[in-house]
Symmetry: C2
Subunit: 436 residues, 2 copies
Amino acid sequence: MTGGTRVTAVRVHDVRFPTAAAGDGSDSLNRGDYSASYVELATDGGPTGAGLTFTNGRGNELTCAAVRALAHHVVGRTVPEVAREPVAFWRSLTADPQLRWLGPEKGVIHMATGALVNAVWDLRAKLAGVPVWRLLAELPTDELVRTIDFHHISDALTPDEAAGILDRGRVGLADRLDQLTRDGFPAYTTSVGWLGYPDQQVRELTRAAYAQGWRALKLKVGGPIEDDLRRVELVRAEVGPEVLLMLDANQVWGVDEAIGNLAQLVGVDPYWIEEPTHADDVLGHARIAEAVGRQSGGRCRVATGEMAANRVIFKQLLQAGAIGVCQVDACRVGGVDEVLAILLMAAKFGVPVCPHAGGVGLCEYVQHLSIFDYLRVGCSLAGRMIEYVDHLHEHFVDPVRVAGGRYQLPVAPGYSVTMRPESVARFSFPDGPAWR
Amino acid sequence: MTGGTRVTAVRVHDVRFPTAAAGDGSDSLNRGDYSASYVELATDGGPTGAGLTFTNGRGNELTCAAVRALAHHVVGRTVPEVAREPVAFWRSLTADPQLRWLGPEKGVIHMATGALVNAVWDLRAKLAGVPVWRLLAELPTDELVRTIDFHHISDALTPDEAAGILDRGRVGLADRLDQLTRDGFPAYTTSVGWLGYPDQQVRELTRAAYAQGWRALKLKVGGPIEDDLRRVELVRAEVGPEVLLMLDANQVWGVDEAIGNLAQLVGVDPYWIEEPTHADDVLGHARIAEAVGRQSGGRCRVATGEMAANRVIFKQLLQAGAIGVCQVDACRVGGVDEVLAILLMAAKFGVPVCPHAGGVGLCEYVQHLSIFDYLRVGCSLAGRMIEYVDHLHEHFVDPVRVAGGRYQLPVAPGYSVTMRPESVARFSFPDGPAWR
């Protein structure tokens, strides 16, 4: 166990795609050039580990710089060393006595932590010759439990409770895997209703999505409420009552404003309201969840998580009954290790996980998390869907494959975020040909 | 109102002091080289605006880089423009459609926001020829209210409620100012009990502090509980029952662990327990507050705030009854504008504000906040103290003056964080003489 592939260097690339001009990805708060701080772990032989964190354009240099600031905790490590003492490794990054002040465990420094931690998981899975979802699903319970830092969450989830969930998850795993291999994993699309699109484009995109098999669609809200209502009613009229419509306000509302607007929007029978208010407002989300549950006769729930900074925020969202859908993001939090904690807390509290995706590489990442969750943690597809946005996949060596509204299981070893070298070169900022 | 001094450039300096080797500032989580991302706003005539954010050493380059990423929102502005539309200015920084993803409103990007916003306040006060505390205390109520972004906090504090507090604060203001001018502002010292100090040094520092007039002392805890108990009992034995002892765990405990350890520590009659658990854990702090109140017969309260990321976290700490002391930090949040919101929310909820200080320049900053709070918001000294740590003040042009355990009122125009040019030069990282 002392040998094994050793990380010899951390390389980080500032990769930016000029998406802002097109209006893709426009919502009530974010209009960006989808970007990635792309991390490569060079090794003394064997594969290269790949990880990334997604950003919205400007500022991508900050997460790149944070990766460099943390890199010394990764260089020189071997995969077996990290696997033997995963919490010690994770804390070397998250509890660095000087860098912790910059978070703690949030924002720039934590997103960089996630990129590095995920790159180690990618390397580990490539060395094992399996995709990350399979690596995780087949790990012994005690090894999975040992991967989680229970510090600051043990009041909500103990190691014994985690082990119990993971042990129960072994039952029927082969059948669930057969089913996923055959049918794929349910998904929904966010490609039809960006705020930057005019009504006619939304209508056409809705028809096209329905024709492609999508039966769950997400629309951005958070503009003037009369515009929101018109667009949502337009889409509902196109698709009929059976299709799930999700609404996403991207945090623009205050708590009372959210409750007031939702009183109107529940008329279109939304399945969830996503990010109805500020990402940090656990108590506000709890109030909104109570109100919208009442307004909708229990049919609409609150979803959030793409900007929930860490496991401590998720813990409270679950403890407070503030969310009915847990939208963990693969790179906002500190990598697979912290996602495990969040998946297990969600399972304990009976809340389905529908990961946040889109951006750059998020779909590639989160498919592994949802598949593992179904195989070993949540063990149900009820209420589970992976977000899907159909852009920028062409830059990955092993892009997601979606058909008939379902993700097909990835089979290549690793975590699926290895970028094509020509894409990295072309879109490197500011010196790549796309930016010169 | 369209003229006025215009910001022509933002300069940022990576200034680091080699404090780690001395054990100063060592607590259960942080051992650092106290540092500042020091911001200067060059203008087209007139004074230079100075702001800073404190960091713990490594990573100071990240907050410097974040200042550069945000600087274009400040360059070209005039002070009257900002004063006319303060929320629009503040949101240009905090809701930048690309940079917001890196927070939102937390960590590296928000600390850089604070440095820039505070530099504008420093410039404004210098132009007015008054210290920031006086500028704020003398502003009309409507102008103070217009400075606050009520978005995401109006469920806890409305503009009308804020105006009511500020209007009432005009009554008796002159008397309170006379009193402060005469007596200074109460303080406590954190210089006696860093974890890095051996018992004998703690004993000697305690005696020296008592002899200097200090009647409120803070000790770091969060090591092995038997060591914590021994050190705290040692100090209590030195100073007797009348001196206030505050304990600071710097987030190392889990929620249940905090409750268990406090059951033992309440025996030394601590006045507060600071940061008993993770900074983001509003619900955890609320549980601990309930428990320690019960354990101590209501004599010990929970204090936190130095790592509370923004007004939304403070809002919830107050709504949940999680804190009995509000320890806002001058540069963790987004500058004076956001501090105003936090002071007013604390006043509404009846919680005294005792700002976090220490580090580099924090004492210089927060004296203005506490003085303003007393003059115009909280209007009481009951339970109010400013933290004081006696190092690194010599690097400031107008350092804090503390005598007999009380801050003396600063009189120089500005926000008191203008650094001596020779200090900036000497401690610039990595090229200054102190680091070469």
